[in-house]
């Protein structure tokens, strides 16, 4: 039974890591707090739902479509956020809060408040040797989350473009002095972040019910994991996602499903109080 709990926790955690990765990349490169992140994930989910319902598109084809659509959506968001004045971080937070309201109500009027679910592809698979089942949604989650993390890691560590992104994350002014095209990096961050969101959306629609009010919860999850990992640290995100997934699964097991929402909220407050620059972030040495 513990095997099932850990399996649930890790697939949930991998999903949280995927959701957080797009947010972390955007925030790391542009320092824009995207409060509409959860609504974008939901949008991807609703898009997948609409595709599977109206056009009978099989699940795996919705993924590239949603990735493209959400990358475009993120591009539009980038055009808006670019125009925000000082103080940038706070104003971008309020601006994306407004965008979240727009998206939330747009989805409410288009899809109504009924709970929707993207149909799963196939039945649960029993793990040999253990009394645990892996549902197809969980299998997709684990595979795609780990795959996306690996792909992002390779992009950042092994390519020149990734190096430029990392430079922008670490110190924007110094990167600009070194010749990194900052504006192009911001654009790239939004586009890559958007495609990660587009990957997460259909998965979300398959494993949890889609309803327009669920966006803020997803945003809080992304923020908690990002703050845990530290600004600009990508490898900590997978670990952070797993820890959050474990914490929530245990809270549900011990307290019941309704306490789950409290976990991410309380964790966020604790992280903000304790180490807002990132729990796993290396301690900055004082410059002599």
């Amino acid at each position: 039974m513990w095997v099932q709990i850990f399996l649930n926790a890790f697939s949930l955690g991998s999903f949280y890591a995927l959701v957080a990765m797009g947010f972390a990349l955007i925030f790391g490169v542009t320092h824009a707090f995207n409060l509409a992140h959860g609504e974008l994930v939901l949008l991807g989910g609703y898009l997948a739902y609409w595709l599977t319902r109206s056009f009978q598109v099989p699940f795996y084809w919705t993924l590239p479509f949603c990735m493209l659509a959400l990358a475009l959506g993120a591009l539009l968001l980038h055009l808006l956020v670019r125009k925000v004045r000082e103080p940038f971080e706070l104003n971008s937070l309020v601006l994306t809060f407004g965008v979240a309201l727009i998206l939330q109500n747009g989805m409410l009027s288009l899809f109504s408040a009924d709970y929707r679910l993207v149909p799963a592809a196939g039945g649960p698979v029993k793990l040999p040797g253990f009394a645990a089942y892996l549902s197809p949604a969980q299998a997709w989650l684990l595979a795609l989350s780990l795959g996306a993390t690996a792909a992002l890691y390779l992009l950042l560590k092994r390519t020149f473009f990734g190096k430029a992104l990392r430079a922008t994350i670490q110190n924007r002014e110094a990167a600009e002095l070194a010749g990194v095209p900052i504006r192009r990096m911001r654009l790239a961050a939004f586009v890559i972040g958007g495609s990660l969101v587009g990957l997460a959306g259909p998965l979300f629609g398959q494993m949890a019910y889609l309803h327009p009010a669920g966006g803020m919860e997803a945003t809080l999850v992304a923020i908690v994991v990002t703050i845990f990992a530290g600004i600009g640290q990508i490898r900590g995100i997978l670990l952070g996602g797993w820890i959050l997934g474990l914490a929530e699964t245990l809270a549900v097991y011990w307290g019941g499903a309704s306490w789950r929402e409290l976990v991410s909220g309380v964790l966020l407050i604790l992280f903000l109080l304790w180490r807002p620059e990132g729990v796993l972030a290396p301690k900055r040495r004082a410059v002599p």
Partner: protein, 300 residues
């Protein structure tokens, strides 16, 4: 529909309530804090009053004060726990802190009726003021006058927070905390006072709401919408003017209720999001500031 019809009084009454809510929110925002979690105070005020009247059988008028007190207590918690946070980190913390009372109330079914909510909340009993009988419970006109009075009270406090000596301290804290502290302004005091009074007044709004509507449930009074509304009205109307938040409420709320509700019955709150986006990008000081500029340029 004739001008005497009760729908106009109801819309005006709610405009006054939301205007007061916006004033209360801006009271704390004047110190430079953007709070995305004022729904916590509102919900605590609504539930505090509803449960107190339900269990202790006190008059709803006392329930209002208790609701305000519940909000103020949570405000004290914020002031202590979040004392070192600033800017976007503080905004995120306020957003997350709505979850705490919401989930607790949602789950503590034996006391708070959980997700069923509290129904049958008694309306405010009529007051006998000498020769005049003021029925703020059932009569829309009476409700309107009560909320108008409440609005004027909160507007007065808000104006004091801008134009008095206290207001100058608040402004100093907003513009440069370190410099303000260096010249002797009590920064912690200014932030604490504005937060707790804002929380108390917001709780009062929530309690009034509970007794006017007669029903509270967690997703209704702790909703993001309640947190967003004072933000939208204030940013639209003008953050640093004495009448700014109410101007936003006066323009946007009737527009939303009477016009957009008819066009988009489900997603009419979208207009608030649009207002935020346009205001942040084009006139972050609010239309009141823009109007002031126009008037000044015409006058001189």
């Amino acid at each position: 529909m004739a001008p005497g019809d009760s729908i106009y009084f109801r819309v005006l009454a709610m405009t006054c309530l939301y205007g007061a809510l916006a004033f209360a929110w801006n009271l704390h925002a004047l110190t430079g804090v953007v709070s995305l979690g004022h729904a916590a105070f509102f919900g605590l005020g609504a539930y505090g009053s509803a449960l107190a009247v339900h269990y202790w059988k006190i008059s709803p008028w006392w329930g209002l004060l208790l609701g305000g007190g519940a909000g103020a207590a949570y405000g004290v918690a914020w002031a202590v726990v979040f004392r070192n946070l600033r800017g976007p980190y503080l905004a995120l913390a306020t957003l997350a802190s709505v979850q705490v009372p919401q989930v607790i109330i949602d789950n503590w079914e034996s006391v708070t009726f959980g997700s069923l909510g509290v129904v049958g909340i008694p309306a405010l009993p009529p007051l006998d003021l000498g020769p005049v009988r003021w029925d703020a419970g059932e009569d829309p006109r009476g409700q309107y006058y009560l909320l108008l009075g409440f609005l004027l009270l909160v507007a007065g406090i808000h104006r004091a927070a801008i134009s008095s000596r206290w207001g100058w301290a608040i402004r100093a804290v907003r513009e440069d905390e370190v410099a303000a502290s260096a010249i002797g302004v009590n920064v912690w005091g200014a932030r604490f006072q504005t937060l707790v009074s804002s929380a108390f007044l917001t709780g009062l709004c929530g309690a009034l709401y509970a007794h006017l509507i007669g029903l509270v449930e967690p997703p209704l009074v702790f909703s993001l919408h309640i947190s967003a509304v004072p933000l939208v009205f204030t940013i639209f109307g003008g953050r640093y003017q004495a009448y700014g938040p109410f101007l936003g409420a006066l323009v946007l709320y009737p527009l939303d209720q009477l016009l957009f509700h008819a066009w988009l019955p489900a997603g009419h709150a979208m207009v608030y999001g649009l207002v935020i986006v346009v205001a942040i990008l084009c006139f972050p000081q609010g239309i009141a500031a823009w109007l002031q500029e126009r008037v000044k340029s015409v006058w001189s």
